[in-house]
């Protein structure tokens, strides 16, 4: 374990990956106005290049890359670590943030001669803040450090929800904030108990020291509850649909695609990295049941929505449910746990790309038609073919039809549940796919009818292309080679039974 506490050759990349969005955010405050937009847009290619460099480095050495901050090894210092899953998440975050930044130029750009507005300044700064917070979450190696990152993520996400200042968006943002505060303070109490019991918060060190004692179980329960509230797992999902549906499309895509994955990523870190040695079969089953309930309830409520953006937001609730099937399917060190693990990560990625594209398209649609009532979409696909192509292809991935990332994720989940003999988990996976087909059909069927519909304004081709590019990534994930799944295994600790 000593190698996880000392800086490896590529370690400085992790520092750069954090500093780039953080520095951009600070810098955007100073000149303000249209410079914030230029800085945010300009930093995205560098961020993507850094994320790729980290992924390349992890893949080449086959080991996590580590940076001990200040040259102090844990437990005295704090380490940053990037393993296979962190590197993949960094790349995905960079792509989606870049796409959101390019998409948002239509709404939040301030060309010369136009008065600078507060909402665009907020958007550009908060976008970079979300990116910075996510980067810290993906590479953080210390539970308290991760708490601060989690709070940064919330504080950056809440203003994006109420960016246009209507009372209902303010109420949605406030509810989101209160749920998130509940989550973070529970998490913090768990951190306090871990430190009190074992005297360190460094993830690998803590993993060596934990034992199945009441303190550890209490801390794990508190942290998990907190993270579930932030991830919006059923039945703690009430804040998500109004918050994600009321935000501007460029913000909803980031909130739905990335922000909820941040707290889910920490749940994975907690159970698979800090507590792999705990006999947690029952907890895995509880999480799996909550996930299944989320799939069914979220999809059914999505079927009943009148507004397109609310439908997509409830679909997020359902898709988050799939993520929690990882806990029963990837637990332990059995032969099938690697399949369950790959399925979970694939579901994170496929949903992130497909959902961001769906929100982008919903935003384009609302702008072009002047409303987003599903009942009044008759014939819209004839006038907005590219937008509806994006929705259809994104829907393909949400349903889990081949070839798509969503199909791979669900197929691997079915394989893992068959291999592990946990047949019951196939029911929510298959049922959720059918229900998803139902709600995607509800959008597409009226849009493909023969009715005539008039546009308020025609959408920008560049925005449509950004959305389409994201769905193509979601589809391309379906062709991921075995090397990709091997990459995800890098740095994953396997369960060691307690004596």
């Amino acid at each position: 374990m000593a190698e996880l506490g000392t800086t490896t050759p590529g370690g400085y990349l992790l520092v750069l990956a954090i500093l780039l969005p953080l520095g951009g955010m600070m810098l955007s405050f100073t000149p303000g106005g249209r410079w914030a937009e230029r800085i945010a847009l300009g930093s995205t290619p560098f961020g993507f290049a850094l994320a790729c460099a980290i992924a390349f480095d992890v893949g080449r050495s086959g080991k996590p890359i580590v940076y001990a901050v200040g040259g102090l090894a844990p437990p005295l210092g704090i380490a940053l670590r990037a393993d296979g899953i962190s590197a993949v998440m960094l790349v995905a975050a960079a792509i989606i943030v870049a796409a959101a930044a390019f998409y948002a130029r239509a709404k939040f750009a301030t060309p010369e001669g136009v008065r600078e507005s507060r909402s665009s300044l907020t958007y550009w700064i908060m976008l970079q803040a979300i990116w910075a917070a996510l980067t810290i979450i993906f590479v953080g190696g210390d539970l308290f450090n991760l708490y601060v990152a989690l709070e940064l993520l919330t504080f950056a996400a809440v203003p994006l929800v109420c960016i246009d200042g209507r009372p209902e968006t303010l109420a949605a943002a406030l509810r989101y904030l209160l749920f998130a505060l509940f989550g973070s303070i529970s998490y913090l109490l768990g951190v306090a108990l871990f430190y009190g019991a074992h005297g360190t918060l460094d993830i690998p060190l803590l993993a060596q020291r934990v034992q199945a004692t009441p303190v550890v179980w209490t801390a794990a329960a508190l942290m998990t509850c907190g993270l579930l509230a932030k991830t919006a797992l059923f039945p703690l999902h009430l804040w998500l649909p109004p918050a994600h549906a009321n935000a501007p499309a460029a913000a909803s895509a980031v909130l739905s695609g990335l922000v909820v994955k941040g707290s889910f990523f920490l749940t994975l870190r907690l159970w698979f990295y800090v507590l792999p040695a705990l006999p947690a079969e029952k907890i895995a089953i509880v999480l799996g049941c909550l996930g299944s309930a989320a799939i069914i309830a979220g999809s059914i409520v999505a079927l009943r929505q009148a507004r397109l953006k609310l439908l997509i937001a409830y679909s997020t609730v359902a898709q988050i449910g799939y993520l929690f099937l990882v806990f029963p399917l990837a637990a332990g060190a059995q032969s099938w746990s690697a399949i369950g693990w790959s399925a979970g990560v694939m579901q994170i990625l496929a949903h992130a790309f497909a959902k961001a594209a769906m929100f982008f398209s919903a935003g384009l649609l609302a702008e072009a038609l002047g409303h987003d009532q599903i009942a009044k979409l008759g014939g819209a696909a004839r006038v907005l073919p590219l937008t509806f192509l994006t929705i259809a292809l994104g829907g393909l991935s949400l349903m889990g039809l081949p070839p798509s990332g969503g199909f791979s994720a669900k197929w691997l989940m079915l394989q893992a549940s068959a291999a592990s003999g946990q047949w019951l988990w196939t029911l929510p996976v298959l049922g959720g796919g059918l229900l998803a087909a139902g709600y995607v059909y509800r959008i597409l069927a009226p849009a493909l009818s023969d009715e005539r519909i008039s546009l308020v304004s025609s959408p920008r081709r560049s925005q449509e292309v950004v959305a389409l590019a994201l769905t193509i990534i979601a589809l391309a994930l379906g062709f991921a080679p075995q090397a990709f799944f091997d990459f995800l295994e890098i740095g994953r600790p396997l369960a060691v039974r307690l004596p």
Binding site: F144, Y147, V148, E151, T154, F155, V158, P159, C162, G165, R166, P167, E168, L170, A171, A173, L174, R175, L177, L178, L181, F182, S184, I185, L188, L189, V191, A192, L193, Y195, G196, G199, P242
Partner: protein, 112 residues
């Protein structure tokens, strides 16, 4: 009962009261106050944890104290954002509620 145990129990009681308030009180401002109560309880628990450093030969373990300071700053920032949102909401609609039903009524709930 040693002072540590007493302080620990007080912390636990504060956390419990806070969670009760956060979940059951309908008004956002009361929820926010309840959140601050939980925060105080958690910081008290951190204080007790810091005492355990005495076993290692220190008078106190400084790490949890540093965490408490960070935690206080974060909780303060969170409270500031929440108060700003509540104030803005009361200015915009004179109706500070988290009830989602209000916003779907035809008049937007502003007149009630």
């Amino acid at each position: 009962m040693t002072p540590s145990v007493l302080a620990g129990l007080t912390g636990a009681a504060l956390v419990g009261l806070g969670f009760y308030g956060l979940i059951l009180h309908p008004h956002p401002l009361r929820k926010l106050l309840a959140f601050n109560l939980i925060g105080s309880g958690v910081f008290l628990v951190f204080g007790i944890v810091a005492r355990r450093g005495a076993a290692a030969g220190f008078r106190f373990d400084p790490v949890p104290q540093a965490m408490v300071i960070t935690g206080i700053v974060v909780a303060f920032a969170a409270s500031a954002i929440a108060v700003a949102l509540i104030l803005r909401l009361s200015m915009e609609s004179r109706n500070v509620t988290l009830d989602p039903e209000v916003w779907t009524r035809p008049n937007g709930g502003g007149a009630t």
